[in-house]
Symmetry: C2
Subunit: 297 residues, 2 copies
């Protein structure tokens, strides 16, 4: 068998980002962490950690770290089935999930929190674009993800969550400044748009649907769902906002749809690693219930 104390040290260094923080988490000295990892590297015959700030895994290091996370998960599912196995109160299990920012800013934070409040886990929530969260699942960095991809990643189950409805909106001043002659390819090429980051294709997708061709949009980047709304109200740009986040602003006339009643619906899916089906069952229940109440079917 492999040396699981050393594997634990490796996984902790990669999770915490440094030997010092890993040592604190494991209640040992940094040199003990360093020795364990060096012994493991000698046995495996290659480097496992790139000593940088933060420390990152080599390809082999990443595989070993995923292996130990999976073993830990299987151990915990075993303990749920046979509580006598756990000599002491079960340690909290790290549980990594990837969620898109707009879901986290609207419906997804509450079910994750309710699950975490009643299960012995420590959640590690990663944020990425809904078109990219499946990569986190495929690489084994997370055990569950909210994704726009319906097809299940290998080794995972996929369940439909419903669609998040977006509205293309801007402030009235912005609209009279840039769109007084209507919304089309010409005006969209001049009016600054808001995008979350370079992966955010929603604005381009909405513009393409309207104009029946690609329009190169001037883009401000603002990676925060809430700041997106504040920025739109202040006239920084137009953008696609989750309807739920801007209901008050639309009702008060602080934001206006660029073209009346042209929503963009983004279907979302909950993908979970089959390996962790036992642990993730209760989380899936919470997530499906909250999505059912908030998303469109």
């Amino acid at each position: 068998m492999l040396d699981y104390a050393a594997l634990d040290a490796l996984a902790t260094v990669l999770r915490e980002g440094s030997f010092e923080r890993a040592a604190q988490a494991l209640h040992v000295t940094p040199s003990a962490v360093s020795q364990r990892i060096r012994a493991l590297e000698e046995r495996v015959g290659c480097a496992l950690v790139v000593r940088a700030q933060p420390c990152v895994a080599t390809e082999t290091g990443r595989r070993l770290s995923q292996h130990v996370d999976q073993v830990r998960l299987m151990e915990q599912q075993l303990q749920l089935a046979a509580p006598g196995l756990a000599a002491k109160a079960p340690a909290r299990l790290p549980l990594a999930v990837a969620v898109n920012a707009d879901s986290l800013a609207t419906w997804a934070a509450a079910p994750l929190a309710r699950f975490a409040a009643s299960h012995p886990v420590l959640m590690d929530v990663a944020i990425d674009d809904q078109d990219h969260t499946e990569e986190w699942l495929r690489s084994g960095q997370v055990l569950a993800a909210v994704s726009s991809q319906p097809r299940a990643v290998a080794g995972c189950n996929s369940r439909p969550l419903g669609a998040m409805r977006y509205r293309a909106a801007a402030s009235p001043d912005f609209i009279s400044r840039y769109f007084s002659a209507g919304v089309g390819a010409g005006s969209l090429a001049r009016a600054p748009s808001l995008v979350f980051n370079s992966k955010d294709e929603l604005q381009a997708r909405w513009a393409r649907r309207l104009c029946h061709r690609h329009v190169e949009l001037p883009r401000h980047r603002l990676p925060s769902s809430q700041a997106f709304v504040t920025a739109a109200v202040a006239g920084m740009g137009w953008g696609l906002h989750p309807e739920a986040l801007i209901a008050d602003e639309l009702a008060a006339g602080m934001l206006v749809e660029l073209v009346p009643d042209t929503p963009l619906d983004v279907p979302l899916f909950w993908q979970t690693a089959r390996l962790a089906a036992g642990l993730l069952g209760a989380l899936t229940g919470e997530v499906l219930e909250a999505a059912g109440a908030a998303l469109r079917t």
Copy 2:
């Protein structure tokens, strides 16, 4: 002189992350982008871009890209002084700034948006921990940053913004579950805390001040200021929240301070590259005004 069309292609690839998106932004074909960059690499004698997803700069690529951003900035300041120089309406200038998430979720989005709404820029806002934004400035990736570091980075000016006040809070249920016997090193080592990411030291700092020693905290990671509040209300963990974000929850008793009246004040500073003093003057005015109204002096 260097080939500035090729340098522009390089900077665009690095900003957009791919040759395809850079080609769209520059209104040329991907192979034209590729040829320009290859010609530049042959002249310089080393690779400038690591062709990955997303494309990233080599060390030399980063320096060249910063150089072209600086030249563009100087050109724009020249055009502000001598408008006749601009043959057509001035193109919008990319302006990258780094802000901590809690500032963006509270006071900082509005001044950035007001500035962007009235100046020919495209803002590229990066989020990082306030203890780390100065690294973005030092590496030249941004021209301005909200930082917890008072000392000016080389080539920058630093101005105090006031302090952001945090409160350590949790739901009443969470407090009776974990802290019924008081808040101390023992209970803090068992009660799950909320941290934004592995760089977030606020919870550890508050615990150290209270207990007069380091306490290893169990940590959920949740990289969203708003989700932090939702998660705390749902009983997921305790954490340090910006006072401004949880005023309603505290007043309604949905969140309670762990130890009454033990705020943590984090002084913030606005650091700006001197090189861009002309362009950043108006932004600095907006930022100082908004911070003055929202932060503690």
